[in-house]
Structure formats: structure tokens, C-alpha cells
Symmetry: C2
Subunit: 149 residues, 2 copies
Amino acid sequence: MQLSTKARYATRAMIELAFNYGKGPMQLKEIARRQDISEKYLEQVLFPLRTKGYIYTQKGSRGGYSLSMAPEEITLYDIIQTVEGSLAPVACVDNAGACNRVDICVTRDVWSRLKNIVIQELKSINLADLVVEQERKKKESGSNIMYQI
Amino acid sequence: MQLSTKARYATRAMIELAFNYGKGPMQLKEIARRQDISEKYLEQVLFPLRTKGYIYTQKGSRGGYSLSMAPEEITLYDIIQTVEGSLAPVACVDNAGACNRVDICVTRDVWSRLKNIVIQELKSINLADLVVEQERKKKESGSNIMYQI
DNA sequence: ATAATTCCTATTATTATAGTAGTATTTATT
DNA sequence: AATAAATACTACTATAATAATAGGAATTAT
Ligand code: FES
Ligand code: FES
């Protein structure tokens, strides 16, 4: 039940973009540097977020990444689901064909509920929430240090 | 966020033992056969459940496995936590030293809540619940077939 | 004594994750 | 038009975790 680093990297990068929202494109190199993530790997991690339309990329010189909608509109669920795929703890929750006796299985209902409550929780948090919370923590801790997550 | 087969095998085996509760020891071979799990692998999977005291094993001829407490007293959390270890989606939730800026991290709180709601859900279901539900499903489906999960 | 069982340890195989590398394409700037 | 700086794309490699297999030691009812 561990979250993949892919999901964590994507979340961290998206928070960077949320901080940068409205300020033009931010380069991959910069995101990777600030978050201490391999550039090439981050590139692959972010790719599906682009195809799903959460981020907009501008190619060429002075290009970069930016959110393609307001931070309020992007939830943690959107991000994690996009890079991790389904949040079902077992395959048959999404695809009944994956197990051979789904009609009589007692745990499937449990896994299904589990999936739902996780989704619900992740949907309840958007990037704007995280930015606000980040600012609050920064102020509270008196630290002006670059954040890292 | 996939559940390991280890966790699923353990759950299935424990449900078998719950069905067999009060009827003496049940052999590993029998559990493995009914659930179509490799004997040798299941042996390893069940081992920690014994050391944690959820199951009692009798060695030697006519030996076998049995629950060491009533099915009501064993929750899915007990089983899964025992074989999978912590349910924290990221390491720093259990061990603040795992990340370097836990004081200022905004997602850590999210992961922590996620862990808690999953635990709460898994704790709410015990083996007796599953046995009852299994019987109900069997009756409802009119099927007398050996169950499989 | 024997047969049937769990206990223990080591090894291997398989899969998924994480990371690296190199080239192609696009675009702002000069 | 040339150049430099960026993303896009594809392929490969390394690492780690999971799943499975194997064989013998210890125990116990018969
Ligand atoms: S039917 Fe898939 S876990 Fe039971
Ligand atoms: S401190 Fe561990 S995820 Fe942020």
C-alpha cells in the first residue's frame, strides 16, 4: 500500500506549478532542481498529466510547463490517478473478470469501499489548498527556506 | 496502491480458518488446496500471523492451523498489518526522519489522514463478519459451490 | 518405527519501479 | 537563416520488491 515515488514526484511538481500559476511557463529543469528529482525521470512522470490536460507545455526556447487550469480545479486525486492508474487495491474491483468468483466473494466489497474512501479523501484536496497550507506553514515556522515535500 | 498477493492470501487463509473455528486444526495443505495457493508460499505468508498470536499451530502428524481467538476478535487490519507491515502511504508518516523537511511539508498531513481512514475501515471488519456475509451470499446465489475469494 | 505434519533457511524467478541516455522536434531570439 | 534552448519521444538499464520454489530439520500421533 505504498504510494509510488512517481505519484509523489508528480504531486511535488504540480505544487511547484501551482505556486507558479499565472507567471508563465516554468522549465522542467527548474522544477527538477527545486525538488531534487531527476530531470529525465520527471519528464516521463509528467507526460500523462499533459495528455490528460492538467498541464500545458510550450516547446522550444523559453518554453516550459504550466497548469492549464486554476489550482482550485486540480485535486490530488486527479494527479495520483493520472500517474498511478486505478486506486483499486485489487484488480477485480475495476474489472470483475480479474477474479473468477466475484459473485460470491466477500472481500471484494471491502476492497471496493477502501478504494472509494481513498478517492473521496484525495478528491477533497486541491492544489490551491496545498499552496495556502504551505504558506501558512512557512510563516508559522518562521522559515523562509525553499519548501520541499 | 495495490494490495500485495501476500495480504490477499493471508486474508483468504484466515477466512478458511474462521470457517473451521472450533473444529480442530486444519492442515496447510488443505487451506492451500481450497484456495489454490502454493503450499510453500502460504506457509511463509502465515508465519508472522503465528508469531503475532492470531493463529495457533500444532506440529506433527494430525497437526495443523487454527485461529487462536474467536473470529470476532480478528480484524482485517490485524491480518493485513501483520503481513504487509505499515499501511502508511509514505515512510515519513511513521518515521519523521524519512523525509528532511517534515515540519514544512504539506502533503504529509494528507498521507497521514489517508493512512488513518484506511486503518479505520479495515478495523471495522472482523472475520466473523466475513463468514456471515459469505454464508449469506452462498444462500442468495443458490450456489453450494466451494467459495473462493 | 513410521508417516504426516509444521518449522526453518536459502535460493531463484518474475515483475514492477526507478532511473539513464540519446536523438528528434519545436520555437524564440539574434 | 542560424543558433540555442527547451520539450517530445523512444529505448534501454539498473534496482528493488514480490512471489515462488526447494530441501531438510524438528515434532508428534499412531
Ligand atoms: S473477487 Fe476479487 S478479491 Fe474476491
Ligand atoms: S515530509 Fe514526507 S512526504 Fe513530505
